[in-house]
Amino acid sequence: MSSSAAMSGPLLDVRGLGVDYRGVRALGAVSFEIHAGETLGLVGESGSGKSTLARAVLRLIRASRGQVLWRGVDLLRCDAATLRRRRRELQIIFQDPVASLNPRMTVAGTLAEPLYIFERALTAGERRMRMTRMLERVGLSEAMLERYPGELSGGQCQRIGIARAMMLHPQLLICDEPVSSLDVSIQGQIVNLLADLQRELGTAMLFISHNLAVVRHISHRVAVIHDGDLIETAPCDTLFASPMHPYTRALMAAVPDPIGWRQAGQR
């Protein structure tokens, strides 16, 4: 898998992607690449177009211009059957972990759904085994299978969301603000889990967040989006060590530094 990806260039090659909502420009003309096994962080504030970008890439909303080349095929122009086949290779997890699960479905029902659609040949036993293995991978026990989302904490729901997205072993996982509705104290659990999955399974990620600390932690490269345009893209450490764009610098300066305690106490 990785060798064929290396031969054919980037997994995802987005060229001049733009979205207008009733004539209002939400996304200008954005271009970037994601390579196999790579995590691209996308940082921006509310209204900057980051969720619009995620949805346009997956064709969940209609793009107004540009191309989304997924392993060479333009997802924006391919026919429905191709799109459907390709979509199993691209998965997304959303910000609100509770709202993105069906409250009337058990965890088992939620996890089985992608298998019912894409892997119909599986027996019930095989399905159960795949689900149990994935649950363990995201740090939950088999006992979870019979539970409903309402019985779970926010962090557990997000683990289920991740497990559901990973059931089909996608090559690209889009994470749209995956931890911002969780307590600061457990955000690290989810970020570390995603980093582990990424390393073990080689899944490429588009990791979208307004939280610089989280993006910095998980990304190989970071792109900053402002008013519908990418204004700066750089390797993660370079961007945080020497941000070039004034907007990037302003974003970094806004992270609270309680009582200047770090300079004084931690060094």
Partner: protein, 327 residues
């Protein structure tokens, strides 16, 4: 903050408990909290979801649903407010005691203009004329640095951004010159740059007016950047309380220490793993035995599982509830 002839504290909560009766028992949300908010003080309250931080102050404001069972005491400017009849409570609420909620999207009435929503508070609480109330509303928007306030007064909530709406909520809470504003996660729904401006605004307003503030958040970085003193809550109880700087530099409770490690720092080189507090908070209705944090605590011993640590005063204005504090 100083001990010499301290003025009357703004709020004194004593042994407050909140429970919800369910079939065959009670689910406890707040399990006996005592704390004081001094005059002109900003008290930070930090805790994870389910720690009882919001329930505690909703009880103080008399905003809990009818099924809630509240005991204990809350003295606001030396007056017991927990058992006040609604008409008397409403004299205090919104005028001397105000609250700012997390979600600026749903806290404003969608079909009323901003100006009307602000002015009606003064008309109701102060009995001023609509004309005077509207000019006061204009000044209030100006005070929270809303540009072009004249135009904003005539707009509806949906025409304002999230940060702008939270400014309106703050302006609204300050209209009647309250003695205490309780701000529950006032910046959690906002972007970092907007958050920084809202925190700065609260800091300035406090310096100008001398109001007391209770700032509630799950984000210690937010709380610590404004509060004089921080109270750490876990599973319905206070586990540590200390002056902000002491808490940040030398936390006593292992839980506080873990929370501090979770505060992101862009200046530090990035570590291999992102810090977090392992495990999860106890669910409602779990047996209340020993220290509630013990299952997640790196320092816990057998004693922690069986014997609940009391909140003890350890000097320099700090209190901690732990058998094995980081001394």
């Amino acid at each position: 903050m100083t001990d010499d002839v301290a003025p009357l504290p703004t709020l004194r909560i004593h042994a407050l408990e909140v429970g919800y009766p369910i079939a065959g028992g009670t689910v406890a949300a707040v399990r006996g909290v005592s704390l004081t908010v001094g005059a002109h003080e900003c008290l930070g309250v930090v805790g994870e979801s389910g720690s009882g931080k919001t329930q505690l102050f909703m009880a103080v404001m008399g905003l809990l649903p009818g099924g809630a069972h509240v005991t204990g005491s809350a003295l606001f400017q030396d007056e017991e407010i927990l058992w006040l009849p609604p008409d008397q409570l409403n004299r205090i609420r919104g005028s001397k005691l105000a609250m700012v909620f997390q979600d600026p999207m749903t806290s404003l009435t969608p079909h009323l203009k901003i100006g009307v929503q602000l002015a009606e508070i003064l008309v109701h609480h102060r009995g001023v004329s609509w004309r005077d109330a509207e000019s006061a509303a204009l000044r209030a928007l100006d005070r929270v640095h809303i540009p072009d306030p004249q135009r904003r007064l005539k707009q509806y909530p949906h025409q304002l951004s999230g940060g702008m709406r939270q400014r309106v909520m703050i302006a609204m809470s300050l209209l009647c010159e309250p003695a205490l504003v309780i701000a529950d996660e006032p910046t959690s729904a906002l972007d970092v740059s907007v958050q920084a401006r809202i925190l700065e605004l609260l800091r300035d307003l406090r310096a100008e007016t001398g109001i007391s503030i209770v700032l509630i958040s799950h984000d210690l970085a937010v709380v610590a950047s404004l509060a004089d003193r921080v109270v750490v809550m876990y599973a319905g109880r206070v586990v540590e309380s200390a002056p902000t700087e002491d808490l940040m530099r030398k936390p006593l409770h292992p839980y506080s220490s873990l929370l501090i490690q979770c505060v992101p720092d862009l200046r530090r080189p990035r570590a291999g793993r992102m810090p977090f507090v392992p495990g999860q908070t106890p669910g409602a209705g779990e047996p209340d035995r020993g220290c509630a944090f013990a299952p997640r605590c790196p320092r816990s011993t057998e004693r922690c599982a069986s014997e609940r640590p009391a909140l003890v005063n350890v000097g320099s204005g700090a209190e901690v509830a732990c058998h094995h504090p980081l001394l």
